[in-house]
Assembly symmetry: C2
Homo-oligomer: 192 residues x 2
DNA sequence: CAAAAACGGTGACAAATGTCCTCGTTTACG
DNA sequence: CGTAAACGAGGACATTTGTCACCGTTTTTG
């Protein structure tokens, strides 16, 4: 598990063996079965999490109990609730596993320690945040400017291969349409 | 104009007179008339911009020429296209003034210099980015989970007083609905 | 393995929204 | 100041989407 992370992070940043040792000494490994929750609404998100293997989903619920998918996190991706993590406030998100998943996590205290001792980590982290913001902006633009079908096509391009791992009603939820609407869109696309 | 910025930034971060001097020496002041463009689609966004007075709008256009408002930036707000600014790539955004506006701007080169010489500036900037990401996430959640009316109500709460400064069709554009739909929503709310 | 749950699709109908149009008022600007 | 543009509203109609109900299949799980 940590070895998966080690292999990945070495492709993203130039790290010394000492850096890797710091990561390893503070990492918490965790295995999740399908449907297990990594974070529950109302809890404080205490970790930055890296997905080594498997698939996580971040979602929010509305008053009437509807689930809305905010993010899919397949292997080799980071996930957390930045607000809750940073300010130690209750989170409004749930994070669960869509399949058997292995993660490595760090507490804020430990990760801040890593920031202090691995200068390049901050640079890497800033890049992740920047690209995260950019993608979120793009998603807003899609939401306000594109039709449901266009958003679906964009989604397929952005996350190729995801359809075989995620049930369609979650894709619909991510796109902000009902599963029936997504079903219709897919139906019309079969013909063309 | 710079004095507006100086007054504001002192409420946000603890700065020395020397820090202020660095800001002042590198700042570019600019006045914009209504409808003037600060950034045009296709250009490289070369500045971080602080709005001292007035009102900016950031929007994108789709293939068929429709404008979609991504952001409103009243006085005491920062704006830029982070992607274009950071990577010197052509921007897909337009930024224009909705009324007479005064801004101060810094080139990336100068602002990076400020980062190097004013340690707290990075902390402040990181906070802005974090809250920006948080708000953008919230907007995605609204877009995929709420009705047009709920999004409108949320908008009013989030930006009180904005309705008197921004034409309704731009609010509609920001919310991702047609101006007719927004008109209907407002009509039904008058009764209740 | 067998029961239960999850899943994907579809039809019928209602509700929401977009599009196109006109109209009167307000605002901008030469 | 006067003309033109921008603006907000509203009606009529078409389209999209949501909701509800149902069905057959696949997957999960005890």
């Amino acid at each position: 598990m940590f070895s998966d992370f080690e292999r990945y992070i070495k492709t993203q940043a130039v790290l010394t063996e000492e850096d890797i040792r710091l990561f390893r000494d503070t990492a918490i490994e965790k295995k999740l079965r399908r449907k297990d929750l990594l974070l529950q609404e109302g809890e404080i998100c205490r970790y930055k999490t890296f997905v080594c293997k498997g698939f996580l989903r971040t979602y929010r619920t509305t008053g009437n109990g509807n689930e809305h998918v905010m993010q899919f996190s397949p292997e080799n991706n980071w996930t957390t609730d930045p607000e809750s993590y940073e300010h130690h406030t209750p989170s409004c998100y749930n994070i669960d596993a869509l399949e058997y998943t292995e993660v490595v996590m760090w507490t804020k205290k430990d990760f801040d320690y890593l920031f202090d001792h691995i200068p390049l980590l901050k640079v890497y982290s800033d890049k992740l945040i920047a690209s995260n913001l950019s993608r979120t902006r793009q998603r807003v633009f899609s939401a306000i400017s594109a039709t449901a079908e266009e958003r679906y096509d964009e989604f397929i391009k952005m996350y190729p291969g995801i359809l075989t791992r995620v049930p369609l009603h979650m894709v619909a939820s991510f796109l902000g349409v009902s599963r029936e609407t997504l079903s219709r869109i897919r139906h019309t696309q079969v013909k063309s």
